[in-house]
Amino acid sequence: MAYIEARGLHKTYGATVALDRVDLQVEEGRIVGLIGANGAGKTTALNAIVGLTAYAGHLRVLGRDPWTERDRLARDVCFITDVAVLPRWIRVSQALDFVAGIHPRFDRAKAEAFLAKTGIGADRKVGQLSKGMVTQLHLAIVMAIDARLLVLDEPTLGLDLLSRKQFYDALLTDYLERSRTVLVATHQVEEVQHVLTDVLFIDRGRIVFSRSMEEVESRYQEVFVHPDRLATARALHPIAERDGVGHTVLMFDGADRRQLAALGEMRTPSVADLFLAVMSNRGPREQGAVR
């Protein structure tokens, strides 16, 4: 069974189409990055998946309809949408008490062990913590829940570099060491790309690119081409081109590796570069999601 299965997932806000008949599948054990520009539909898609927003079309998460069964699904699905949404009045110990009281899969000792490492005292109020610490606290709670699916929507937006690194380090060492299923939407692609098993690009409410990381590595190549060989290289139909220092970087999809090797130094493109290449081929964004 697919953990997330969407067919024709559709959502409009007035005249604005936020999700345009999206098909999407996330299998058990995959760590999927959902990448898109602001307003591309990432948050709407994730909100539909965790039961925060109504939708049209078919959507099943762990076999259930998230809109009508949010609270039932919340036993198996954890999510962090937005940064620092813990209420300011709550004490760290109260937050743990509450989640321990109502969540069947919460391991309090695990959350406390994680918090001990961060130095966040149990009697502190969330309002007294920095934004980075609030995020760590939220992560401590989420990681102590033995969930089947974790959904993250820009969990580090607006945090400083150090806090972002701490967040992903913790996620990596403590959480992802077991086989997990994660769907993460973020702008900061470079911070997550080494843990992803799949990437999805979303643009104007549509999934425009969906590949496993193995596919990305085997199909896409970036070549640093010297100006002398540029004409030859262009004849091989690059999908994107950008200027470097003393050379031009050309990106190829499924081109012959031996031919490419003759043109210059090769490497696998970063997800960010791939995203930019795919988006530039889709024409200007100014038309926007509004029809």
Binding site: G51, L86, P87, F98, I102
Partner: protein, 294 residues
């Protein structure tokens, strides 16, 4: 995967506890006002013997009034606190966490919107009246004991107090008024405020006030009548069930007695009020589901 679940009662009880953590005024307000009342009362103790001696010369109804009045005032003050806290609690209950975006955290947990709304509705309907009841009876007990001690020390018999103020009566009257009337009877008002709190984009209290005021104004202009306003006011004042009994003397504890309490609880007006509360609360549940962070 095995289907583990926390019992609903346990989830509800943690949800109510959560409300008490967030809104400490639910117990701090009645307790601190009770404390203030006791400070005032202890100052008045200096003149208690002389006042009591003077009251002894009065006729029985006047004597009763003189002795019971401080106890009645304590009940009324704490009832006003109860109402005040309840109104402020309700209008913020489903609005505050949308405003500070913590609704995104609460909704990530396995607590249904129905349970969230019920836990919040239980505060003004049940928890707050019970807390105020305990605070009131405790205050009045302390007053009675301290008063007796002062009278005894000045060589008078405290029985004059005890014959007019019985702890059993005080408990019964306060319980009836606070829990049955301020809690259950007022449920439609609280439920309406919770509905506004779940709906309002901002200032929920004003949004709550707007429709009833609009209905009243339109009715007045269109039909030159005030049936709606009269109906609401009539219900607020107890729908005729809270009118003091014909023989009850003014300014005594009996003034607060529903006449009789049983009649209040089986009255059709209360049934209608509770039905309306249910409609408002279901509306609040629906809105809680649909509305996200502001």
């Amino acid at each position: 995967m095995n289907d583990v679940e926390v019992p609903a009662v346990q989830r509800l009880s943690w949800s109510v506890r959560r409300e008490l953590w967030e809104n400490r005024s639910i117990y701090l307000a009645p307790l601190s006002v009770a404390g203030l009342v006791l400070v005032g009362f202890s100052i008045s103790l200096f003149t208690l013997p002389s006042r009591t001696r003077a009251a002894l010369t009065l006729s029985e109804p006047a004597l009763r009034q003189a002795i019971e009045q401080p106890y009645l005032i304590v009940s009324i003050i704490l009832m006003a606190v109860d109402l005040f806290v309840a109104v402020f609690y309700c209008q913020d209950a489903l609005y505050g966490d949308r405003r500070d975006r913590s609704v995104l955290f609460w909704k990530s947990l396995p607590v249904s919107d129905l349970m969230t709304v019920l836990s919040k509705a239980s505060i003004p309907i049940l928890v707050l009246p019970l807390v105020t009841f305990v605070a009131t009876v405790a205050t009045q007990t302390v007053m009675l004991l301290a008063g007796s001690a002062v009278l005894a020390a000045s060589g008078m018999s405290p029985s004059i107090l005890w014959s007019h103020v019985s702890l059993l009566d005080i408990s019964r009257i306060n319980f009836g008024h606070l829990v049955a009337f301020h809690g259950v009877w007022y449920a439609p008002f609280y439920a309406w405020l919770l509905l506004a709190s779940a709906w309002a984009p901002r200032v929920p209290f004003l949004w709550a006030a707007l429709p009833p005021v609009a209905i009243g104004v339109i009715e007045r202009i269109a039909f030159n009548s005030t049936h709606f306003a009269t109906l609401v006011m009539h219900y607020f004042l107890g729908g005729g069930e809270m009118t003091p009994g014909a023989g009850a003397p003014p300014m005594t504890m009996e003034m607060l007695t529903p006449h009789p309490l049983g009649q209040l609880l089986i009255s059709p007006a209360l049934c209608a009020g509770l039905a309306l509360s249910a409609v408002f609360l279901l509306g609040a549940v629906r809105l809680r589901r649909v509305r996200g962070a502001i």
